[in-house]
Symmetry: C2
Subunit: 445 residues, 2 copies
Amino acid sequence: MRLSRYFLPVLKEAPSDAQIVSHQLMLRAGMIRQEAAGIYAWLPLGLRVLKKVERIVREEMDRAGAIELLMPTIQLADLWRESGRYDDYGDEMLRITDRHKRDLLYGPTAEEVVTDIFRASVKSYKDLPKNLYNIQWKFRDERRPRFGVMRGREFLMKDAYSFDLDAEGARKAYNRMFVAYLNLFSRMGLKAVPMRADTGPIGGDLSHEFIVLAETGESAVFCHKDLVEMAAPGPDIDWYGDLQPLVNERTALYAATEEMHDEAAFAALPEGDRLSARGIEVGHIFSFGTKYSEPMKALVTGPDGKDVPVQMGSYGVGVSRLLGAIIEASHDEGGIIWPESVAPFDVGVINMRQGDAACDEACETAYKALQAAGRDVLYDDNDTRGGAKFATMDLIGVPWQLIVGPKGIAEGVVELKNRKTGERHSAPLAEVIAQLSAQNPGKAA
Amino acid sequence: MRLSRYFLPVLKEAPSDAQIVSHQLMLRAGMIRQEAAGIYAWLPLGLRVLKKVERIVREEMDRAGAIELLMPTIQLADLWRESGRYDDYGDEMLRITDRHKRDLLYGPTAEEVVTDIFRASVKSYKDLPKNLYNIQWKFRDERRPRFGVMRGREFLMKDAYSFDLDAEGARKAYNRMFVAYLNLFSRMGLKAVPMRADTGPIGGDLSHEFIVLAETGESAVFCHKDLVEMAAPGPDIDWYGDLQPLVNERTALYAATEEMHDEAAFAALPEGDRLSARGIEVGHIFSFGTKYSEPMKALVTGPDGKDVPVQMGSYGVGVSRLLGAIIEASHDEGGIIWPESVAPFDVGVINMRQGDAACDEACETAYKALQAAGRDVLYDDNDTRGGAKFATMDLIGVPWQLIVGPKGIAEGVVELKNRKTGERHSAPLAEVIAQLSAQNPGKAA
């Protein structure tokens, strides 16, 4: 993309109501624009990151055997009356009446809809296990939306729903998602710690939140410090084998959100192992048995010929919120430092003297060669000062910046800068192009 | 994908309220499920096609220089009051009140939002031309939703918006979209004819609908018959050059929807050239000058230093509706015949005797090799009769079907069937795999 043709409305200063750094940086970098309280437009740069995050989530769900569908944003109130949640849900549900006076709502989650889809066609244990997921916009009418995309009203969520014949199957389904979540957050450069959590309005008896530690986190969390640096299992897993040991490795160590915190158990840890911090919830998984299948009569016939309500779980990832969490975890005074796997552009090309024939030619060569190699390239071809170009590339967090100036070109070299380390080195253009072409950050580890 | 692990709830019969063939087939093929009047869940098979259609639309928009962003589904009523459309829009607008009694709406289109985004940052002619588009769910509260995704309430639309300094620039922007539309519909196997059209609630003085001819079309259309078979220009176009000749080639011939129909002009055509038919609107483009920029004060400074309201146009494609249009144009008594560019799976592998070691092995080999070659493969590994497997593959419209039976395997061959022509031929497995691996229907022509 040539910056001169792009739409990148960066701001000198963030509006004063942006309180946390991710919100400030997303506004300044021209990633989002507030359209109403808690409702954002995703400008081109923000949308690029959102799509990369979404793609990682999708790939890891697919890998773990979940099947993607897409449920509508608008749901029938009657379905929620069946489950008994319509009246319970309270003011956070955006309730709507259509022209025929029918009660609708903007889905804050989709347990009811997916249960309805399931019960319409699946009748036998032979069709189980199933895990259906979708990545769709949701709405929660927060009383006080704040922190940008971290606590918005309209937000993008990945929600998966598992269906199993019995509790043992449900536990396996839960474990598959538990492990998939470790991998997917890791691919985005996040250290997300699974913690025992309250089940809230979803219900159920088993639940973990996946928490990214950050000073600006909305809730207090408590865990064994070893959990933070524990490596993700990676993709080479027998998804239908026994994942319990992988889960136990984590759950054996103390980790709980504020609501589930056990002071005594935490105090029993050696002092050096105790980590008391603040955290951002980026995922939340639930096992809730027959809470929905029983009232909604989602029955399956078992091998014994008897009909039983199907065992369910649900598994959420806050896709749009993840962008805020990643920025909270990875930025400096210059701006955002994107992990390469989710960066809006892989490489920025900075022309220090637009209009200089040799500089222009080198930049064009780099731009075209890197695009041909499948890299996402932003070429700053504007007629502005080098300093302003550096500041913009750093602000928007492009991981690799290729700097072309007249002095270097005269000597046959360009500069390559790493956004994260700040390191620069000079090398011939062809060498730098070859190096950058060989990288492929989008792929799974 | 192994069918035994997939979620493909095909139906023996379509519900009686499905009146047109695309609606019937989408329900029978397990592509969609109605959740409320005019509101559908996209089941896994339907979502696959939707994403392929969406991808073609995106690629052709990008090629024509448009830049993607994403506007929220929920919009502020106040913006529509600025443009003057809030009261005019009528009952089709889904009006919503939030917990703080603020007036919101589910966007039926986004002229106001995009104008607001534009005016916040673009101030100079130097930043023009711009074309911003998004592919987002919209809602129109149709009085009588019907025909499945063809006239739904919640639907996926690609809407692009162009911004230019003057009428000449706006005309060029209009032409770019006109030509891009010819290409994008063509890539989906559709013959879409541009016709002079009424501007309706969007407004403006220049407008074309892109119409796919079909008996079940909702409106009467009239055109010169040569327009139907006119080939699309293809991607190798100088998008910022003079596209007027390409547009004139089409607009010189008579073509109009019912509202714009000129009986006398049509009657003046030689009788053999007159085509009077029914049509499905799949795209609609508008040039409306300053209709929104003037009341909303979206001003740009020209080279003369004077501020003028920016010239705008908008360009819609009914992405979800396109699936219905494609099926209306391409089906037979056995089911859907997907053009290869949008097929949910490229290849179906049919195991005629599941459990037979040689058949299973050949199927596994084909399944893995074709997936490794980047093809989307559906492997019917269920323990059902061959006849039922054939019927399902034909119903869901998989373009190439690789049939593995014990007799063929004993002779060292498998069968390859083309869904569209019905032709079958036998060949060694390796040969068929090589043939199917070499195809790449997703790419631009």
